[in-house]
Structure formats: C-alpha cells, structure tokens
Symmetry: C2
Subunit: 360 residues, 2 copies
C-alpha cells in the first residue's frame, strides 16, 4: 500500500492518528501477505488487526509524535511515525494479555481476543475447552504483538544514532509497564487503604508507560537535550497520573456507552485504585464494612454498584478530583517554562486539557 504523505502539525491530532494507523495497517498487511505466502493460518494477523482497528485512543503514539516536536523535530518523517505505531502495537499486546489476566469479556465495545476465539470454538468444543483454547490462543497472539512491535521498530528506518537514543527509553518503558501489571496482579482483589502503593501502581502502569516514555522516545529521536527530556518528565508524570486517576473515576462513574467498559468490572475485580484506597482510608466504620463486603465480589450487581458509588462519592471522589486538578496545575507550570518550541507547547497544552476533560 502506498500511503500519500499527510502533513502534520502538533495541534492536528487527527492527522497524526491517520498516519500512525496507516503505518500499522501497512505493516500488518505485509505480515498477512507473508503468512499467506508461507501457507500459515491468517487468523493471527486477523486477530491483531481487528483488535487494533476496533478502536483505541492512540494516545501513546500521539505523545511520541508530540515528543518529536518538543525535542525540536521538524516535519514528521515516516520513520518516527513507524516508531509511534510500534508503541501502539506493543500496547495492543499488553492489552490482549491484560484482558486474559482480568478475565474481561469486552474491550473497545468488542469481545476481547480470548473471548472472541473461544466463541468461535464453541461449535467444536464444550464451554470450558473453548475458553481454555481462547486463552491460550490469545496468549500467543499477544506474544506475536510483542514480537511484531519489535520488528516494526527494527524496520522503521532509524539511523544508528536514533536507535541508540531510543532503545534505553523503550527498554525502560517495557519493563515499567510489566512491573505495573505485576503490581496490579498482586494487589487486585485485595484493595487496601495503602495510598502509596496505589500511586506506585499508577506511576508504573500509566504515568511512565502512557505519557512520559512515549514523549521522551519521540524527543530522543529528534536528538533532544537532557533538559528537554527532564521537562518532558515534569509534564508527563503528573499528566499520566491525572490520566489514570480520571480512568479510575470513569471505571466506576463513567458512561459505558462512551467508555466501552462496564462500570462493574473494576468494583467486581477489586482493583487497588487510588479511589478505593482513599475511600477505605476515610470512610466511616459502617461504610468501610459495606465496601469490604461489596468490592471484589465477582457477583456484585447494579444495586450493589450503586451503593458503592454513593459511598465513594461521599468519601474519595472529591479528593481524587482534587488530585487531578493539582496535577493539571503542575502540568501548566511545567509548560509555562519548558524549553520546547511554541507549537509543541500548544500541542501539549491541548492534549493535557483533553485528558483532564475526557469522558471516555
């Protein structure tokens, strides 16, 4: 596929998204062709492609591209778009594995990969054998995503200097998100009043992985100075924390028709979020007893969830909203004195506003 080059500015999020998606589509098209040529089953590429194109905010590639501009990069080259696309492909793999771990049925309004494969197998297997097959196929499909995101990076057309600057950031990012997932696994089902631990999970799972590292990656490709990389941390870490705090609120109070996620899942799983840690810390003994009984119960119903929401609204929700505002102010302060070109500042300010105001 020959993609017409689309000019991009830091403010033009749609153009950035279109270019990243074209790079993903082209790469997976080549994977489909080589599978067909080798007589290999098409379903692996199909599964990765359906998952990637069912939706997703493309926020990590966007930050990667904004990092490129913040680092002083000029007109956006295809090589940087491909690196941004590789980050999105890596993220798809993380989510496919995450959905196995969380036993989630839907993501992006579609059945999750393990569930979709299991559903197709119901014609030949009983329910539990089909579920097992779906889980194992999705495990491997996630592994393909990890491996192919590497290949997309390797074939992005970076210079040796860009490669050398980018790989330490990518290595850090991948280790951080894995530790975030691992901490999440250790604590899920046992939410506690340990606020520090909930914040640590946010830092690994989101602040570094979703915002700070993609920004630094793009900036490193542009040859950014250590000062620029540090300023991107000063912007990215609070914004990433705000993003996740907002995500936790949306997971409980959001509109499922907008978020594509049930508002029961986080409560049923007993995710150790800042919201729950604060609620358990500040609730009255009576409320705490109710939360303990309701949260982490896999059969929690709409009525129980409504009761949780009442208690959370009375206790932790205002504090979480305050934490989000604090972080938004930190972001503004960093941007006011950051050594980035003006159009990069405008782009970063605009995405920060969108993150804080988002409803999905």
């Amino acid at each position: 596929m020959s993609t017409p080059t689309i000019d991009v500015t830091p403010m033009d999020r749609t153009a950035i998204r279109v270019r990243v998606e074209a790079a993903l589509y082209e790469f997976l098209g080549r994977k489909a062709e080589s599978a067909a040529a080798a007589g290999l089953p098409a379903d692996v590429v199909d599964a990765v492609r359906s998952f990637l194109f069912a939706g997703g905010k493309r926020i990590r590639p966007l930050f990667c591209v904004l990092g490129w501009y913040a680092g002083g990069g000029a007109e956006l080259p295809d090589s940087v778009v491909r690196v941004a696309a590789a980050v999105e492909l890596f993220h798809a793999a993380v989510l496919i594995h995450d959905d196995i771990i969380d036993d989630s049925d839907t993501r992006r309004d579609q059945p999750t990969v393990h569930r979709a494969v299991a559903d197709r197998k119901r014609t030949v297997h009983d329910r539990s054998a089909a579920a097992r097959f779906g889980t194992h196929a999705a495990l491997l499909i996630g592994d393909f995503g990890l491996v192919w995101s590497q290949e997309l990076l390797h074939t992005a057309g970076l210079t040796a200097a860009q490669n050398a600057a980018a790989t330490p950031i990518l290595d850090a990012m991948r280790t951080e998100v894995n530790y975030g997932q691992y901490l999440d696994l250790l604590t899920t089902g046992r939410p506690t009043r340990d606020l520090d631990q909930a914040l640590e999970i946010i830092r690994y799972k989101t602040a570094a992985y979703t915002v700070q590292r993609p920004l630094q990656l793009g900036a490193a490709l542009a040859g950014a100075s250590p000062e620029v990389l540090a300023a991107l941390s000063g912007y990215g870490v609070p914004l990433g924390e705000a993003f996740q705090l907002q995500d936790d609120l949306l997971g409980v109070f959001g509109d499922p028709t907008r978020t594509g996620k049930s508002t029961l899942d986080d409560l049923r799983e007993g995710k150790h979020t800042v919201l729950l840690a604060l609620a358990l810390r500040d609730a009255t003994p009576e409320h705490r007893a109710q939360l303990d009984a309701l949260i982490g119960n896999p059969r929690l119903d709409a009525r129980g969830a409504a009761r949780c929401r009442e208690i959370l609204t009375a206790t932790a929700r205002p504090e979480v909203e305050r934490m989000i505002r604090d972080r938004w102010l930190q972001v503004q302060r960093t941007l006011a004195r950051a050594p980035f070109p003006p159009d990069a500042v405008a782009g970063l300010r605009s995405i920060a506003d969108a993150v804080i105001a988002r409803t999905s």
Copy 2:
C-alpha cells in the same frame, strides 16, 4: 560481577556454556539490583533466574556461538556471548508461556513457573484461585523474559553494522517460533495422519528456531557471506528436524529420570507429532482404533501408555528412526563441502553427533 574471560574454542561446549551462563547471571543480577533500588518485588527476577538456572541444554546459544565461528569470527567477544545469552532468555520466556498452554506441572525436574507460583499461593487462596493467580503471574513473568531478552540484546555492545545484520534474523526467528507454537496449539488434541502438517510444525518450532536461526545469527555477527548463511541452513534445517524427531521419540520412549519430562504428557495431550501422524497413517484398523481411544485422553495411565508404545514401536518408530538417519546424512553432506573454517566444521560435526545420540 566481574567475570574472568574464559577462552573458548568451537569444540569446547562447556566453556561456551559457562560464558553464556555468566552473562545471563550478570544481567539478571543487575535487574535484581534495580528492582530492589526501586522497591519493586524481587519475585519476578527470582522466578526468571530459578527457571533459567534449573537446567536446560543451552543449545540455541551454543549454535549462535558456533555460527560465529562458521562465519569466520575469531576469538569470541563478550558482545556475541551476550547475544547468545539473549536468545536463551527469549527461549525461557517461550517455555514459560508454553508450559501455561500445555498445562505442564514440571520442566527441568522442577515445578513449572505457573505451578510454583500457584503452590506458594495455596496458603492464602483456594486451589482454583491459586491456579489462576499462578497462570497470570507466569504470563507476566514470560512477558518480562521477552522484554528483558530485548534489553540484553540492546546492551550487548554490538556495532551498528552487527545490529543491522542481526535484527532481520532475530525478527524472523521470533515470528517463526510463535507460528510453530500457534500451529501446535491448533493441532494438539487432534493428531491426524497429516504428515506434512506435522513436518511443518517441526520446521517452525524447532528447525528454524532452535538451529538454523541461532547459527545464522552468530554468523551474521561475524559478517558472514550469503554462501555461509545458506550453508548454515543446509546444516541447520535437517539437524533441527532430526532434533525434534528425536525429541518426539524421547517424549514417548525416553527415560524420565534423564529427560526430566513425563512420558505420559505427549500422549495425554495428543501432540500432533510426526511419530503419531505416521502411526495413524500406517496402523492396522484395529491399532488405529486403539490409538484413537488412548491418545489425547488426559487420564491415560501407565498401562494405556505401554499399549501406545507397543503399537508405535510396531508401526512408526522404525520410520522415525530412519528419518533421523536420513537427516543426519544430509548434515554430513553439507559439512563435507561447507565454506566454514575447519575448527567450526569440527564443532558443528560434534554437536550434530551429540544431538542424534542424545538421551535427554
């Protein structure tokens, strides 16, 4: 850890092994230090390290190093040892995920990672919750292995030219083994008389992944010519096929005290091996009916397995042994005219003999 440099020759498999293991140990030691410094749990590094050092033949790093010599490389540099170690770390990740998919209890005479984690959780969870936790933790621990094998490569100290030569081979290798695993998953439990499909699985899972690609990787690091890379395929593909055919025999007829694997697992799972495909193709109707009833039965007992072995010995085993000999002869013919230095030929001949004669 400062490791004294150990001089290596292509014939000295123990010295190669010691250097690769020292590189792995040092890398994981650094991972343990950074986890401790960040207040992260030690159990991820511990799990990867215990798994890696419980055993393993280190055959892929060995082929990587032999490829270096075959490609004309002189004294073995630490950078090449680290690449070989990265291949072994990648393999550990593949095995950790493979053990989840196969629901294996033991590997290398130890509990598998998911089982070991589940066993430790039995004190706080019921059996099924502990098993689920073990599976999910092992999924993430495998992901850490994949990510860290990349980091070990990135920090191996390769030149830009070596990087450019090595990455296409590594990308191919990783995709091939994933497809091998995927084909295995699709066919397990439904062994058929389809010999071509069984051979295709072998080529992806073993011939390319275990032998051909590691050899070509090492050779590419030495700057080998296309002729050398082609000759390494002529050696590696038949040897890899022979290795896997031997593995299939050992999986059914081997000595568990030597292989560390039960001789019931392959039969219970109904792995679609060449051995079974040939047996189903050539058996009498009566024998075929017995195999159909016994193979793929998760409750197959020692007596049923003994009956399978009798039928396989009467039908497919001699043919598999003949296929192994044929491939061994191809290996010899390639070596007789290969453009490798004489000491590399000697090393490759010696490992080929060991592979064919192996009992574990």
